[in-house]
């Protein structure tokens, strides 16, 4: 879990954030309303110059958290601070330096890209040098009306508009959805460059490979609760490792023998080899392996996807039971 201590370098600090939608309303034995806890006592912080990935399936509370950070929602309890400023009292000041791309981008259809950039420039001045760079990266025709663009090109216009002022904090909700792989890769490269220049990026995404490749830390939210906030590397180290071993036929240990080794989670036979999933300490397993003759062995970290699925294992099991 994330530490509750606020560090100077923390740009975004969310403490004990709780958001409840609706109200319980009961008259006699009849219920007329039901409250839903969308975010429950969430705690996390995002440091200056990092890309923080925010993961969770649909309905987990990602968008609610983002909307609370942007000051669109009133929260039941907790605090949200951006650069030490309170999200509600100092909303205007905070928004001077935030770039936001919503999950489902809709822009004014009767504007051209250029007109949109000029329009938003009135509220948050454009960094002309950075805009020039954005124009080079994204090849969308900004002279066309937004309504005539494809969804991918509209997404590019939204990215250019959000980033044009070169803000210090970016809040991105599924920013690369709709982008083709080439554009997505260019966009990721740009985010990494921005990070290197001290910009802070809060990235909510379904694309686990995207998060794995560009985020330094991730927060995983499940049913409104933040269940883990950890560096991606640490998370992968702590998580399952997958060992594929091909023993020489004569001295292969039995499946039961392997299962009794501490930290071994799962053992499966696969085309002549054995796949073993082991968590954290792998030394006991290595001792067994080295005592036998091995033809071939590979050891790989689990991907962020495996880790993510591990956190959601209970839910998936429940769904299967249904």
């Amino acid at each position: 879990m994330a530490s509750n201590a606020v560090v100077d370098s923390d740009v975004l600090v969310v403490r004990n954030l709780t958001k409840i939608y609706g109200r319980d309303l009961q008259i006699g034995s009849r219920k007329f309303g039901r409250s839903i806890i969308a975010v429950n006592d969430a705690n996390f912080s995002v440091k200056k110059g990092e890309i923080f990935g925010f993961l969770g399936p649909n309905g987990a509370g990602k968008t609610t958290t983002i909307r609370a950070i942007l000051g669109y929602l009133t929260i039941e309890s907790g605090t949200i601070k951006i650069n030490g400023l309170d999200y509600q009292q100092d909303g205007l000041e905070i928004r001077k330096n935030i770039g936001y791309i919503p999950g489902d981008v809709t822009l004014y259809g009767n504007f051209t890209g250029e007109e949109l950039i000029n329009y938003f420039n009135e509220f948050r001045p454009t960094d002309q040098a950075f805009l020039k760079k954005l124009r080079n990266i994204f090849k969308v025709d900004l002279t066309l009306k937004v309504k005539s663009l494809s969804s991918g090109n509209r997404q590019q216009v939204a990215i250019i508009c959000a980033l044009a002022s070169n803000p210090d904090l970016l809040i991105l909700d599924e920013p690369s959805s709709g982008l083709d792989p080439l554009m997505a890769s260019r966009f990721h490269k740009l985010l990494l460059e921005m990070r290197d220049n001290g910009k802070t990026i809060f990235l909510s995404s379904h694309d686990l490979s995207e998060v794995q490749s560009i985020c330094s830390r991730v927060g995983i939210i499940r049913k409104g609760k933040i269940i883990v906030v950890e560096a991606v590397n640490k998370l992968r180290n702590k998580s399952l490792q997958i060992m594929n071993i091909e023993f020489t036929e004569s001295n292969a240990p039995s499946m039961n023998e392997i299962k009794t080794i501490p930290n071994v989670i799962q053992v499966e036979k696969q085309d002549g080899s054995i796949q073993i999933k082991v968590k954290e300490d792998i030394n006991d397993l290595l001792n067994l392996v080295t005592s036998r003759r091995v033809r071939r062995m590979t050891l790989e970290d689990s991907s962020l996807e495996d880790i993510f699925l591990e956190f959601y294992k209970d839910e998936m099991d429940l769904e299967k039971e249904k």
């Binding site: 929602l73 928004r95 919503p102 809709t106 504007f111 009135e122 509220f123 948050r124």
Partner: protein, 274 residues
Amino acid sequence: MFAIYKKQLQKTWYFWLIPILLIVALAFYMVLIWPEFEPIIQEFQSLLENPLYQALLGEGAIELGITSFEGLISMEMFIVCDIMFIGFILAFGTLIVAREADTGTLDIMLSYPIPRWKFLLQKLLAFITVTLAFPILTWLVTTLAASSYDITFNNEAFLISLFSRWVLYMTLTSIAILCSIIFMDSTKTIGSSGLILGGSFILERIGGLVRPASAETADILQGISLFHYLDGPTVMNNIMNNKGFPLGELLIIILIGVLALLISLVLFQKREFK
């Protein structure tokens, strides 16, 4: 500083101006037909004895009668204006906030450092600016056309009646905006503001229908209808017959409009966007 106002004007002026030009065209048409109509107009006066006409046109128009140019133009034009502006206001009330919330453009707009009240007020100001064309252009075109056809009419009373009705329309716009902000949903906004505006319009007509049977019931029904106040033909009739301008009505209507707008601004500033 006025980016939203400018954008709103640039991108929507034609949308709002087209119906206003239709009203102006109607006024011009009235001028065109008046020279031919004037000699035979007396024959149509009996039409106004029909209770349905009386209810539809209102007391002010009936009192003015059809035999004068002022009577004809106010009788024909204000009823069309009322119906047109109901649609106009419903559309604007929905577009100002609810539709932006529906489509998601509000999400992006509010992520910029703009006070919400400023966003709302600038959009409303743009609408006010364009709709000002209604009294100004209608008066100007009617006056110029009438003078070129040698029609004399009380253009001062006409101007005041046009502006009075415009003030009522702006108050109705504030109410539609309030509905938009309360519901933040296009369908609900159209439904609720349509109920208030349409209901008010119908109440005024029902009041006119029941008046011959019960003046008391008619007074109650029309008293709660916003369309009863600052009625164009009535204002024109009052000024032409030296009965004075209904200042009390103007103050009530402005008060309701300002109140609705203030509540809208406060609500919009404080409400959440789910």
